[in-house]
């Protein structure tokens, strides 16, 4: 197709138009707004698909498309353009974002049907897609930053969608703030690039990495890592992710599967050339990934809230991706592959969780579920397939991508390789454990349903859905608009991995962008695969022993020290609260006091002393003519004396 590049801007424009129309359109659009939003998201997906097939028709070297729209900020040597670049990496993201995004739109039509602000919800969803597409299509870091913060804004709006709940508003603010800390890293990285290379467009920067010192590249790399930590919820900036569950469930699916948290992986993969030339920064990436992988998995094991358990698993799975991205050309392709397969099964799992909540009066505590497989067969099957995919059950999507990452981690070589590989392997076991736990507590066992809480006393109940206090839940299958996306995603969860691995299709597809090397693990690939499966089975077995064979108590037992810490997100929030929030409050309060007493006080003190002095001087002005006469005489005498003295000198 001629001039295919002219279509790129439309990818972003379609959802952006939707957002603009829906947010400015007013109540007139209330009835049709959700359809408009969904159609525009789908339009973006169709354009993406057209471009994809067009791209397949070209040779591997001609697949990168560029579109220059206009000059954004031109100041002397600082030239930022609004220009797009669509290569294989961006293409992968475009399809994932628009594809999964559209499914989530469809799902939301049913899920948000009772919410009076549904139009606005779809406006925000469209904004989210537009920002994320801008992020992956930008051809320079500054435009990427635009999309990057746009994603932050959209997540702020969506997490805090039920603003009347203080917890939702706080969670939204927290997400934005933590992300801003990461953004600081990105902006410093851009500044470093500008002062080092004189530009921040991908092409020139990534081509010129050889011309500067390794120290500079390490600095840039670490700043990019900080940015990725913020957006992808990696340790130490992961604390916002759990709270972000305050948003409506489709938002969680969107954030965790298709957008937002994947941005960090994209950034690191995109900047591969920088990390390849800065091994220290690269190792830091791998370490952050490995730590988060365990962190998220441990947190996931202890949560009783189904969404928060899934949030922990997201953190952990993104940790896998970051770990893979930190392995260099050995791992980039697998990081992205896991990202795509994860997009399918995590979206499916979240939509399934939403469906369960929909049927259970918005109860999120898994201890109050149980035995739901008979009541929600479609949800059970799709959720189950997603579950098998995420734990890496042989043959399903997750298996293909995760196994490769573990293999690549071992291939890092030396002690590092053993540690990283070991952590990845252990993570696979824990994943199997906590996902089995979720599965068993939700769909198997006895009914542990509880009457619906009083909405006035339980602020966590999602609004819009009629809940009668004291009523027992009547679990039922969700409407068609919700189940169809779940079924489609389940297909992806099952087959995507195998499809991608056919003749290394996915790796070959990305190779021109991310480069690829075969890793050589110290043990054979088959050994790694077998041990992964063994660890997996152990994890499933332990979970079954704990939750399948014994009844699950409705009230959570006290648990061990580690369990209790994990329930509180391994005390990260407590740390933040004590050190940052409290400390910050004290700092600002004392500064306000100091500003009033010290800075203002110096000035006011000067004014007061002038006032006091003049008050004293005023007493001389007593109104008696004779005292004035004395002062005149005295003054004259002094003047004369002074004149005489001066003459004498």
């Amino acid at each position: 197709m001629e001039n295919a590049e002219n279509l790129i801007a439309l990818l972003v424009a379609a959802p952006l138009l939707g957002a603009a129309v829906l947010l400015c359109g007013g109540r007139r659009l209330d009835r049709a707004g959700h359809w408009l939003g969904t159609v525009l998201a789908a339009a973006s997906f169709v354009i993406g698909a057209v471009l994809f097939f067009d791209m397949l028709g070209r040779g591997a070297e001609e697949r990168t498309l560029r579109q220059h729209l206009f000059s954004w900020v031109p100041v002397e040597s600082f030239q930022a353009d609004v220009a797009f670049q669509l290569d294989q990496l961006s293409m992968t993201f475009v399809l994932l974002i628009t594809g999964v995004g559209t499914l989530i739109h469809v799902y939301s039509i049913g899920y948000m049907a009772h919410d009076e602000r549904r139009r606005r919800f779809f406006g925000y969803l469209n904004l989210f897609l537009a920002a994320m597409l801008l992020l992956v299509l930008a051809d320079n870091y500054l435009l990427l930053y635009f999309g990057w913060e746009g994603v932050g804004l959209a997540s702020f709006l969506l997490i805090g969608f039920w603003q009347h709940k203080p917890s939702a508003a706080t969670a939204a603010k927290k997400a934005f703030l933590v992300n801003r800390v990461g953004d600081m890293g990105l902006s410093i990285a851009i500044m470093l690039m500008f002062t080092t290379f004189g530009t921040f467009a991908f092409g020139p920067v990534l081509a010129a990495t050889g011309e500067t010192s390794e120290g500079m590249l390490t600095a840039i790399g670490l700043m990019l890592l900080l940015a990725a930590c913020g957006k992808s919820a990696q340790v130490p900036l992961q604390s916002w992710l759990g709270d972000a569950m305050e948003g409506p469930t489709p938002v969680s699916a969107l954030i965790h599967a298709a957008t937002m948290v994947t941005a960090g992986v994209y950034l690191i993969t995109r900047s591969g050339a920088i990390f390849n030339a800065a091994p220290d920064a690269q190792l830091a990436v791998a370490v952050v990934g490995a730590v988060t992988l365990l962190f998220g998995a441990i947190v996931g094991c202890a949560k009783d809230d189904i969404k928060k358990a899934l949030a922990g698993s997201t953190m952990s799975q993104i940790g896998y991706m970051i770990l893979a991205a930190g392995l260099g050309p050995v791992g980039y392709a697998f990081a992205i592959m896991h990202l795509v397969t994860h997009g399918f099964f995590k979206a499916g799992l979240f939509l399934g969780a939403g469906s369960v909540m929909h049927g259970m009066n918005d109860e999120v505590d898994m201890r109050k579920y149980g035995g739901l497989r008979k009541y929600m067969p479609v949800t059970f099957v799709t959720f189950g397939l997603g579950y098998l995919a995420i734990i890496g059950f042989p043959g399903l999507s997750g298996f293909w991508s995760k196994d490769k990452i573990i293999e690549a981690a071992f291939a890092k070589g030396g002690t590092e390789g053993w540690i990283l590989g070991g952590v990845a392997l252990l993570g696979a076991g824990i994943t199997a454990y906590y996902m089995t736990r979720v599965m068993l507590m939700t769909f198997f066992g006895e009914k542990r349903w509880q009457p619906a809480p009083d909405p006035d006393t339980a602020p966590s109940v999602e609004p819009g859905i009629e809940v009668h206090p004291g009523e027992m839940p009547h679990p039922h299958e969700s409407p068609r608009s919700m189940t169809i996306p779940m079924i489609l995603l389940a297909f992806g969860s099952v087959f995507a991995g195998a499809l991608f691995s056919l003749n290394g299709a996915f790796v070959n597809w990305l190779r021109p962008v991310t480069d690829f090397e075969h890793g050589h693990p110290p043990v054979s690939a088959a050994t790694v695969t077998v041990s992964t499966v063994v660890v997996l089975l152990i994890g499933v077995g332990i979970a079954y022993a704990q939750y399948g064979r014994r009844p699950v108590p409705v009230v959570a037992p006290r648990g061990s020290l580690l369990t209790r810490a994990a329930r509180r997100d391994l005390l990260q929030d407590d740390f933040n609260h004590i050190v940052l929030v409290r400390g910050g409050e004290h700092l600002t309060r004392s500064l306000v006091y100091l500003d009033h007493t010290l800075v203002d006080g110096v000035v006011n003190g000067t004014a007061a002393s002038v006032g006091g002095l003049s008050g004293r001087l005023r007493k001389l002005q007593n109104g008696f003519a004779r005292s004035y006469a004395v002062s005149m005489l005295g003054g004259t005498a002094v003047l004369i004396a002074a004149t005489l003295l001066m003459r004498g000198v």
Partner: protein, 99 residues
């Protein structure tokens, strides 16, 4: 006679006048003392004129007399009206010249 003696006299008169202004309360007496100071100056002017042998001092003495005459007119009028309104000619009773 030595003209310097006139200067001593002028200084004496001026001092008496100044002391009177500062010490006495009666506005009329203060006023007379002011006149005394003015005339002491006149005497000094004339004496200097004589000493230097030119007429400048005598001319200025005339000016002073004119000013003194004008001052008497205005000053006495003020004192009279003050006395009418306050039934007193004491300068200390009129202490309104302050903030």
């Amino acid at each position: 006679m030595n003209p310097v003696n006139y200067l001593y006299l002028a200084a004496l008169l001026f001092t008496i006048g100044a002391a009177g202004v500062l010490i006495r309360r009666n506005a009329i007496v203060v006023f007379m003392c002011v006149e005394l100071m003015l005339n002491a100056c006149n005497l000094a002017f004339v004496a200097f004129s004589r000493m230097h042998g030119n007429l400048d001092g005598q001319i200025i003495a005339f000016f002073t007399m004119v000013v003194a005459a004008a001052e008497v007119v205005v000053g006495l009028a003020i004192i009279v009206s003050l006395f009418r309104s306050r039934h007193s000619a004491s300068v200390d009773d009129a202490s309104l010249m302050k903030l």
